[in-house]
Symmetry: C2
Subunit: 334 residues, 2 copies
Amino acid sequence: MATIYEVSKLAGVSLATVSRVMNQNAYVTDETKKKVLDAMKELDYRPNSAAQSLALNRSDSVGVLVAELDGPFYGPVMSGVESELRKAGKHVIVAAGHDEEETEKEGVEFLIGRGCDALILLAETLSNEYLVELAKGSTPFVMLNRTTPGLESQCISLDNHLGGYMASKLLVDQGHREIAYISGPLWKHDAEDRYAGHKQALEEAGLTQDPELLFESDYREAGGSSGLLHLINSGKKFTALACANDEMASGAMMSAAQKGLSIPQDLSIVGFDNVHYARLLTPSLTTVEFPIHEMGKMAARWVLKNAYGKKKLSYNNYFSPKLIQRHSSKAISS
Amino acid sequence: MATIYEVSKLAGVSLATVSRVMNQNAYVTDETKKKVLDAMKELDYRPNSAAQSLALNRSDSVGVLVAELDGPFYGPVMSGVESELRKAGKHVIVAAGHDEEETEKEGVEFLIGRGCDALILLAETLSNEYLVELAKGSTPFVMLNRTTPGLESQCISLDNHLGGYMASKLLVDQGHREIAYISGPLWKHDAEDRYAGHKQALEEAGLTQDPELLFESDYREAGGSSGLLHLINSGKKFTALACANDEMASGAMMSAAQKGLSIPQDLSIVGFDNVHYARLLTPSLTTVEFPIHEMGKMAARWVLKNAYGKKKLSYNNYFSPKLIQRHSSKAISS
DNA sequence: CTGTTAGCGCTTTCAA
DNA sequence: TTGAAAGCGCTAACAG
């Protein structure tokens, strides 16, 4: 690989001049510029990015930590982040945290160790304390789908409470009175918020959540399946089920089918997230849209603005959910 | 951030010694080693990875190019690659190629420019010529889901022909005689191979593909939807439909429902890939398993072995598909 | 407008 | 077993 030195020799100029034409900025005669450009082309020169990073103290790469790289929820984040950052010439380095505190911390260390200029974190298990501590360090970071007290300006989140409310409000409006709920892990902020929203919808209708009709699960399809089975086995009657995400809702739908319940006739179901395949289920799943792709883009813009000084960029910190009404829930037949 | 120099001063040794204890290898007294370690801890020292890269001429990062970062197919690749590489302390830099030749080339350049030690390419639009040329360069790379003549040893692929054969063979065995086919873009190697396998299954049964029952589509759900509509509108009768991937199959299922066709009674459908949600469709989709997550892992191991000299590692170059029989196809009722 | 030069932080001979 | 010193390739003052 050719170096800047060889280019300078071939072009008959100094290192500095080559550097100047590379970095566009400084004053260089069109004539010398051409000589340099020609030399570069001839040698198929490419700047060594490690050397640049070292000299500039900047790596032009940003680290992204998510729980998983696959799955209907994380993929769209990644894609939103990548498209925005790539346009700006920044590199995206990924790490999966697998929803385990130790692994997520390691992920953060790993990314910082790599010299990432900034981090985008979609991590549930990291404690607020850890994040506050991290914020004292020199690597700027933005968080997705959480709000850490004291760090609000670097959080990009959705109103999960409102989303939970909207989903359950629909059920209530459709006349349901016995409503079961399968939550995510309640130590997770979003799971807690969604459930709180759900309860608010019930309360406004003068209802309360029957504890026997609440099942705390894990946001996974299998968890939704076993959740519904558990609820059915409790012997309590219910005409509707709200799930804290679509994956659990789809699991619940499978269990319902297996138990011979037809949806929405025997049981109305609503989900949350509006993952890609929610439309493809039969019946199509009523859910709440989580604009995660868009939020990924915003996180990228936050980074561009706050870590790379692109002043002009603007971004949203707070997103609102939207109810997507499809065919898995219906008005109760009286 | 502390540098190696400050550590050496605090520990009262030279730079070289600090470097030695970092790199475990050389002979250092336990005593001096301890002094150095203590100093590192006290200063919260972390090596600057750009400086290391520059000195070692190695970045410890590998670039991964896929068409999209989301979607049921690419997510699992990424996750397989990341888990394997991360274990080895290597960084994963991602780029999306969006199935456009220009963008994919740019992606490759981008990744090479970043100084990636190796590349993992899951790119359909890159021509064999380009890849052969690329192979002359100094960045080693491995390709997923394609076989480039002359570069076989750096290709990790699935027997798409066999997969296509298995899917259609099932339909034939179930007694279907009028079989429609929705292919992927036929300029893509895998689409072509799958279709060829399909034709072979027909031929062995003494059938040929009716050109009017062939629809070339785009591997996308909407393409599957419109594909089936088109086939139905042709007026030709058919009792089964093979789709070159699950996304198109799910689109076709939606069109079928819309047209009042019930599956599998009125029409048997098979897909390809066994994406995560194939099980969740109603009826569950019969398909061919594409072990893409596993193949991603193998690509990572290829890199570890061939770019990082981990001799002991072994990997598979060639994978076999597996038929996953579910409920979207049934024996024809005679 | 262009050249000289001093680093950026680390690895690695070569000597001691 | 340890230290001195020469790069790795590039940027950014500072002179001219």
